[in-house]
Each structure stands twice: as C-alpha cells, then as structure tokens.
Amino acid sequence: MPPQIEIAGGRHIQRFDRFDRVLHGFLMLSFLGLATTGLPLLFGDAPWASRLARGFGGFYVTHRLHRLFATILIAVFLTHIGRLLERVILKKDYSIFWGPSSMVPQPRDITEMYRHLRWFVGLGDRPKFDRYAYWEKFDYWAVFWGMGIIGGSGLMLWFPELFSHLVPGWFFNIALLVHGEEALLAVGFIFTIHFFNSHLRPEKFPMDMVIFTGRVDEKELREERPSEYARLVANPVNPPRYVRTPSDRLWVAGRIIGTTAVVIGLTLVVMILAALLRY
C-alpha cells in the first residue's frame, strides 16, 4: 500500500446512483412484504403464524398482498435486467462482464476469500478488496438465483392451470417445496448473513448508510476497498466522483428505513427460530 496521506474527514465519493438506491428500496419493501405474508404458510403450526395472517386481514388479503409484493419484486428484477441490457447494448459498456466493476465471480474472488479466511484466524493480512468483495457477489447471485427460482416457482403456483399446459402436475409439488425452501434460504440469508456483513458487524455497526445515501466516506473506502480506491485515484479518465456529505434529511430517512427493515427482519428470524425449535 502506498504511504497513507491523511484525508480531511467528510469528503465523500459516490458509490451507488439514485436509480440503484431506489431500486434497492423497492427490493427491500417487496422482500419484507413477501417474507411477512409468506412465512405464516410455511410455519402454520407456530402460534404467530395464524395471528400474523389474520392481522393482515385473513387468507384472501394475505394472499393478494403476497402477489402484490411479488409483482413489485418482478418489476424490480426486470428493471435491473433492463439497466444491464442498456449498459451493454446502448452504452457498449462491457465492464459488467469482467473486471473490478463486474459481479461475475473471478479468480481474485477465490484468492481473496482464501486470504480473508486466513486473516480471520490471524494468518496474514486482510485482502485488498476492490469494488465488489466475494461475499457481496454471493449476496448478488444468491438474490439473482433466488428471484429466478422463487419467482419462477411462485408464478407456477400462481397460475397452475396455465402452466399445466407446459409441465405435468407434479411440477407443482416441486414448485411448492422449492418455493418454500428457497424462501427460507433467502429470508434466513438476508436477515442474518447480509445484515451482518453489510450492517451489523463491528466495523459497520449499527448500519452502513451507503445504500441509502449512495456516498461512501473517502477514508472508509480507502480502508475497506484499497484496490478500488487506488484504482479510482490513479485513473485520470474516470476520477472518483467527489460529492458533498449526505444531507441530514437523507441520512435520517436512511436510518429510519434501514432500522425498520433490520428490526422486521430480525423479528422474523426470531419467529422462524422459535417455530423450528418447537419440533
């Protein structure tokens, strides 16, 4: 690492644009909505399940809310795909396929994971992460895969008569199993691993505001992602986009939204664990 220069605090670099942040907001909303309206069905034995479903207004309301949130999530997914296509086709930006700004797993992710794990147990230095670390790529692909599998199986269960023209009826048996198990995986992963990796771990606690403000403190970026920082400051064509410190209003709004999501998520985790431990 080059000799460290002290940076005046408060200088921020733009990391996520508004579009991505709003999209993530809808992702949060639909995901929390789908989880709270879907989990009662998966844990019908638990005392909270029936209360939650009745709290929403009974079966028909819960059922329709689940499909409303599903529609939002499908729209989020398609919007994201649309943006990727726009970058590739219209802007001829192929950096999404390979390189430091790509989500595609690359050899450096393997070595970084290996070195990160070694660092956990006190062997060697922390790897110098670039824009997306391996666990962030896992988060991304887990959600991507999850949307395909849960969304696909969900649509099958939503329109079984229609899909029965394409697939035999026993596909719906598999669709229901996969929908539930994948949902459990997604909910469990997002509300524990993702929450920890991005917000609750000691370095970030109580939460990383970057997904709400879009800006990351320069000092933090240099420490967290030294490779990316070095790449950005060394690039005369694409220098880092320095921006103002997030406004109080944006920061407070982000905190409220983030805290609400974390509280709902962790509550659902506790409810799931309580239901699982009853067996």
Partner: protein
C-alpha cells in the same frame, strides 16, 4: 329396506298395543268397581278430597319440618287427575287413621306402566342404581311427582321441546356428573350449541331431534352395549331415522363396510360430526377440524396433505382451499380403485375442476399427497428435497462460520485497540 319396513311395522304395532294397555289401566282405575270388590271389613279408601284436605295446605309439615304440600291445581292439571291418590299410594288404600304414618311405601309405577318400567329396569339408569349410584334417574326425576303431564302437553317435562332441559338437570350439572361418575361429562352445554339444540331451543322445531330421539326414553343403554341405539354399529341407523338419504349414501361407503365388519376404529356419523356438538356442515371451523379427524386414522395422508398448499392454508385456519371431503367426498367415500370414487383415475379431472375450472389432464398429474421422503412415489420431489437440504445446510454452515470468525477477528482487533491490520 324390507327389514326396515318390518321393524317399523312391528314398532308401530308395539306402540299401539302399549297405548291401549295404558288406556285400559286408566279405565280400570276410573271404574268404581274396585271399591265394590273390596272385602267388607276393610275401611273405605280415602278419596282424593280426603287426602287434599290436608295435603293442599301448604302450611302442613312433617315432623322434620318439610311440607307435605301437594298442589290441588297442579294435580288437577296432571295426566293422573282422573285416578285416585291411593291408586299410586296403595299402602294407604285401607287406612282409616289420619294423619297416616309419614313413611310410605315407594310408589310402584309398574302397576300401570308395566312395559315402561320393564324397559327402564334394563336401562343404564337402572343398572347404575343397582351398582350403588345414588343419583341415576328414576321415574320421578324425569316425569315429576304429582304434576306429571302427558308428553304431548307443552308444559310437560317430557314434551319434545322440554326434554333437553329435563336431561340437562343431571347431564349438565357438574355436581351430578361428579357424584354419578358420568364419564362423558357435560353433554347439555355442547348439545345446546349444536345444530340440533339450536333447532329446538331457537327455532322451536318439533322435527329437530332431542336426547330421546337418539338415546331412547326408558330403555337408554350405554354405547358400549351392542343393543344401544348409539352403539357404534347402530349409529348410522339412528341418525338415518331423520337423515335417511345420508344413511343410504353412507351404506355404500368404504367406512360403512369396515363398520359392518366391526373393524377397529371404523367411523360412524359421530366420529366426524361429534355426538353432541354437531355443527352445520357449512361451518368452516368444523370443516377444518374434520381434517384432523380424518387424520386421526389416516395419519400418513394427513402428514402429506399438510405438506401441500391445500394443507398449509387449512392448517393456518382458513377454509379457502380443498379439504379431505372436497376431493374424497363425504358420506359415500370410496377407494380410488372404485370407478365411482371422485378420486378414481377416470373422475379425477372432474374433481380437480370443481375448484380449478380450467384444469387439464396434465394438471391432474399433481400429487395432492406427495411425500418428499418417498423416493419411489415422488422421485423428483425426493431428490429436489435432498438438494435443497444440502444447499441450505451448506450455505448457512459456510456463512455461519464465516460470520462467526469475522466477528471474533474484528472484536479481538478492536480489543487490542490496534489500527488496521495492514502492517506490511
């Protein structure tokens, strides 16, 4: 049905005979002849007026302070008004001295109502008495004493609309249930909330059944007695007295054939409908509870049903999707191998279409009792479940450990108060 006809005719003949004999008894009592035939040395029997001269006086008391009161009006309104006091209190027929001794012989109703008393003596009430049960009902407990009215009289304790309340005096009384060791407990409360109880008490329907329609009146037997109207094997016929069409449906069912064979656990009407708390068939809560009732025998089927969307929604307490009866039928349940069964291969599509109106032949390949543990029956589901298990265990296992190690590393570093670990 021939047998039913014969039994019915026999029962009618028996009932008529009973009626005539009872009338003959009353007629005999009305005639002055008995007095004339009495031996001369004996004192003339006291008339009802003689008796009521004292007993109609509410202030007259026994030595222990209890009143000897017999309401003249109540007696006059009773079915026994035409007969003499001494016809029942026969030990006073030749008494000349008054006041007579306080302790009288027990009234023997069988002197007139021989058949009813003979039936009663075989009943569970009488048998309980002989076993030392001091609270089991006797004639007067249901019929009353001096104010007995005919069962057609709306004020009678045994009038159709009053019977449930008469039985409830004991079968809804905690004290009697405890002292009488009545195993089934309070049946009056569930009955009063049942469709039959409501039909009687709220709608005032004479056609609605009351206790005696299922249990009989004088000849009530325990359900463990094979002759009892409510013995398991006899229940369909008992319910069929009113629900005859349903009885015919049930007769052909697989359940009825098990019942006829005396198979252990074979269900009769009350197995699903409950004996006393019978609800409207449209009652959603009851329909949901029947699922568990079916599952009390068909345990494996309930388990696999609960793994389906249908089973999950009903477990949550909503009746929006198919329960057992929606696919299997209700009274005329038949095995899938029977071509008349709604789940027979030929009828399945039609059955699914009751809800899934546009279902196709392909749709019907859905397994409403798929078992993810059954490799033979559902191979694809089985391997998908295994794969999901590995995926979940693997993901949570790896990232659980990842998270744990990360936390330990960061807290240790912070604990040392050291800076970034880039000491290169």
């Amino acid at each position: 049905m021939k047998i039913r006809g014969v039994i019915g005719t026999a029962a009618l003949a028996w009932a008529l005979a009973l009626g005539f004999s009872a009338r003959a008894h009353v007629a005999a009592a009305l005639e002055p002849a008995p007095q004339a035939t009495k031996p001369a040395p004996q004192a003339p029997a006291p008339s009802n007026d003689d008796c009521l001269a004292c007993h109609d006086d509410a202030s007259m008391k026994r030595a222990n302070g209890t009143p000897v009161y017999v309401s003249k009006d109540a007696f006059a309104a009773s079915v026994h008004a035409p007969i003499n006091c001494v016809d029942c209190h026969a030990d006073l027929a030749h008494t000349a001295e008054f006041p007579h001794p306080e302790k009288l012989a027990k009234v023997d109703c069988s002197s007139c109502h021989a058949d009813q008393v003979a039936q009663y003596k075989q009943s569970t009430h009488a048998l309980a008495r002989t076993r030392g049960n001091s609270v089991a009902a006797r004639c007067a407990d249901c019929h009353g004493l001096h104010d007995i009215r005919g069962s057609k009289d709306p004020q009678s304790r045994t009038y159709h609309l009053n019977i449930a309340a008469t039985c409830a005096k004991c079968h809804g009384s905690h004290d009697v249930i405890v002292r009488g060791k009545i195993a089934i407990g309070d049946v009056a409360t569930p009955f009063s909330d049942s469709i039959h109880g409501r039909a009687l008490s709220r709608s005032g329907l004479l056609v609605a059944p009351t206790c005696s329609d299922c249990h009989g009146a004088h000849d009530i037997l325990q359900k463990s007695d094979p002759k009892s109207r409510v013995a398991l094997a006899n229940v369909p016929a008992t319910c069929g007295k009113c629900h005859e069409g349903i009885e015919h449906q049930f007769e052909g069912s697989v359940h009825a054939s098990f019942l006829a064979k005396g198979s252990n656990g074979a269900p009769a009407c009350q197995t699903c409908h409950t004996p006393h708390a019978i609800q409207r068939a449209e009652n959603a809560d009851w329909q949901l509870s029947v699922v568990n009732q079916c599952g009390s025998c068909h345990t494996d089927k309930l388990k696999t049903y609960r793994d389906t969307f249908h089973g999950q929604v009903t477990k949550l307490g909503f009746r929006a999707v198919a329960t057992c009866a929606d696919c299997h039928g209700n009274h005329a349940i038949l095995p899938a191998s029977d071509p008349r069964s709604p789940i027979s291969p030929a009828n399945r599509l039609q059955t699914c279409r009751k809800c899934h109106t546009t279902a196709t032949a392909n749709f019907v390949k859905y397994d409403p009792h798929a078992d993810k543990h059954d490799r033979k029956r559902n191979p694809f589901l089985y391997f998908t479940a295994r794969f999901m298990q590995i995926l979940l265990t693997g993901t949570f296992g790896f990232f659980g450990l990842h998270t744990l190690l990360w936390t330990m590393r960061t807290t240790r570093r912070n604990g040392k108060g050291g800076g970034h670990a880039s000491a290169d």
